[in-house]
């Protein structure tokens, strides 16, 4: 449901009635898209709205928030056993902004554990199902946030994107999802996985909704020292120099649909040679940062604990063995390996050098073009359990990770269905040129 449709229905039926119906729908849902539903608080806010006491640009609008974004007094789990009972004592910057604009936080959405996955299958709370085919995945890691939009269980949603975690599920569920330029949205209160790569971003059922949500959550916040201090304001563009990135590909049927979508436009085809390093560079950087970030989980200040307080080395090792799932352990260990004596130069430093090359390739491309396009995902949504080994799963991120490595903004736009399953196109823009991306997307959707 689009925001305009929600507002019309609220006008007719009242916010309390509409939120009650939404909660009923969530209760009966088969998607497993929410980890926590904020029933009482949502109904209370809806009543406030009906009395005219809730004001703001998102007044009375149900927004779903990914469960790695900190919400004061509302359990925030990162879909991990480690944090399954964690109740934050403060709000993330983006959550403060939602509240200031009168939004209703309807619930916390399911995800891959700590954002580490492409299918939401690594969640401690079980897999999210694709609204278009319950036997298939919704994508990941923000699978819950995409599924609730496609399944009419929220009107807007927040996700986070470290290597495609907004765009992949947006593509698999047929919704819009934007990974903003690094630094546009404050990461204060985003439970970290890989700080130098990740951004919180908006997910929605229309371009207008996406732009509005980005306007609300972007802006200066001194609590995130990597915040660029910029506020996003949507500006319409009409003319674009378009390039297809030829070495970002997909299955044949997806490529056919991709070129069909572009058929009304003039475009050139280009190759970015250093993209061949992007996947390896991404995973090395992400795993290295994860191994450092997740060192904080020690079972002392918060999080999972084990019954016996033995020696510290033994205690921490057992807390972490029980609290983390397999994929999280895999990435922490590989990150520790990449950073360990003797391997730092071969892996971590090499990945940062590759990052320089990838950024240079993009910089050259944006001298001649305004937007770069590719298929978002190389394949249609997988069957649950279809991807068996980790490396095969990692390779599904090949089209989405380059922009995180470079810090660029990128959007996934739904371009219809193949065999009943959604397909997405990825639009990449230059730094802080979200308006160009969104304007071009609007033209694509109108075609």
């Amino acid at each position: 449901m689009k925001l305009s449709e929600w507002r019309m229905l609220v006008e007719e039926q009242g916010c309390f009635e509409m939120v009650s119906r939404l909660l009923e729908r969530i209760e009966k849902s088969k998607l497993n898209a929410y980890i926590t539903v904020c029933r009482e608080e949502s109904l209370r806010k809806a009543k406030e709205y009906d009395k005219g006491e809730l004001k703001g640009r998102l007044a009375g609008v149900p927004v779903a928030v990914k469960d790695n974004i900190t919400t004061k007094g509302i359990r925030t789990t990162c879909a991990s056993k480690m944090l399954s009972n964690y109740i934050p004592v403060f709000d993330a910057h983006v959550v403060e902004r939602l509240k200031e604009e009168g939004a209703i936080i309807i619930g916390k959405t399911n995800m891959d554990e700590f954002g580490m996955g492409t299918t939401t299958e690594t969640s401690y709370f079980g897999v999210v199902r694709n609204p278009y085919d319950l036997s298939r995945v919704a994508g990941g890691s923000s699978g819950g946030s995409a599924a609730v939009l496609a399944g009419d269980e929220a009107v807007l949603a927040l996700g986070s994107d470290t290597g495609g975690s907004i765009r992949c599920p947006a593509s698999f569920c047929g919704v819009f999802g934007l990974k903003p330029t690094y630094g546009l949205v404050s990461r204060y209160g985003l439970i970290p996985y890989a700080n130098s790569l990740e951004q919180i971003g908006p997910m929605a059922n229309s371009i207008d909704d996406l732009a509005l949500l980005l306007e609300v959550i972007s802006g200066k916040d001194e609590r995130d020292s990597t915040n660029a201090g910029r506020k996003f304001e949507f500006r319409e563009f009409k003319k674009f120099r378009i390039a297809v990135i030829k070495n970002m590909t997909a299955e044949e049927q997806i490529m056919d649909r991709f070129y069909d979508t572009l058929s009304g436009f003039e475009y050139k085809e280009i190759e970015l040679p250093s993209l061949k390093y992007a996947l390896a560079a991404y995973y090395i950087i992400a795993m290295s940062e994860a191994s450092s970030n997740l060192a904080r989980y020690d079972g002392v200040r918060y999080g999972h604990a084990v019954s016996e307080l033995t020696s510290w080395g033994d205690y921490f090792s057992r807390v972490r063995a029980e609290g983390f799932g397999e994929e999280v352990k895999r990435r922490i260990m590989l990150g520790s390996y990449a950073l360990s004596a003797g391997y730092y130069g071969k892996y971590y430093l090499k990945a940062l050098k590759a990052r320089t090359l990838i950024m240079e390739d993009f910089r050259r491309a944006f001298k001649d073009f305004d937007v770069l396009v590719s298929p978002t995902m190389p394949s249609l949504p997988f069957k649950i359990g279809e991807l068996k080994d980790p490396l095969t799963m990692y390779k599904m991120d090949v089209n989405t990770v380059p922009v995180n490595v470079a810090g660029l903004p990128a959007l996934s736009v739904p371009i219809g269905f193949i065999k009943g399953l959604p397909v997405g196109i990825q639009i990449i823009g230059n730094y802080f040129e979200e308006s160009k991306i969104l304007s071009f997307a609007r033209m694509l959707v109108a075609e």
Partner: protein
């Protein structure tokens, strides 16, 4: 080549207790994944590394005192607490 000893070594570094069966499974996977990472061998050593994508340096804020968490809130999620302190494992045997 990755050995089972290598896996135990990084597990120790990462403070993760792992079983024998897990160690063998991870060994096989690590070999495959690290093998894939070798694509970076061809990147020249001469290239300057990029640690951070934005050219932001030395971000300071005004040094003004503000309210922090009080003791109750800070301890709210602690699995064990005593007289306003966190309780942790023994550091000295």
């Amino acid at each position: 080549m990755v050995s089972v000893e290598d896996v135990y070594h990084v597990a120790r570094l990462a403070k993760l207790a792992i079983s024998e069966a897990d160690a063998e499974k991870f060994r096989k996977e690590f070999e495959e994944i690290l093998g894939y990472f070798n694509v970076l061998d061809e990147v020249s050593e001469e290239v300057r590394p990029t640690f951070h994508v934005l050219e932001i340096k030395n971000v300071f804020r005004e040094d003004i005192p503000r309210e922090g968490l009080n003791q109750d809130l800070a301890l709210q999620n602690a699995p064990r607490k005593e007289e306003g302190y966190f309780v942790g494992p023994k550091v000295v045997e």
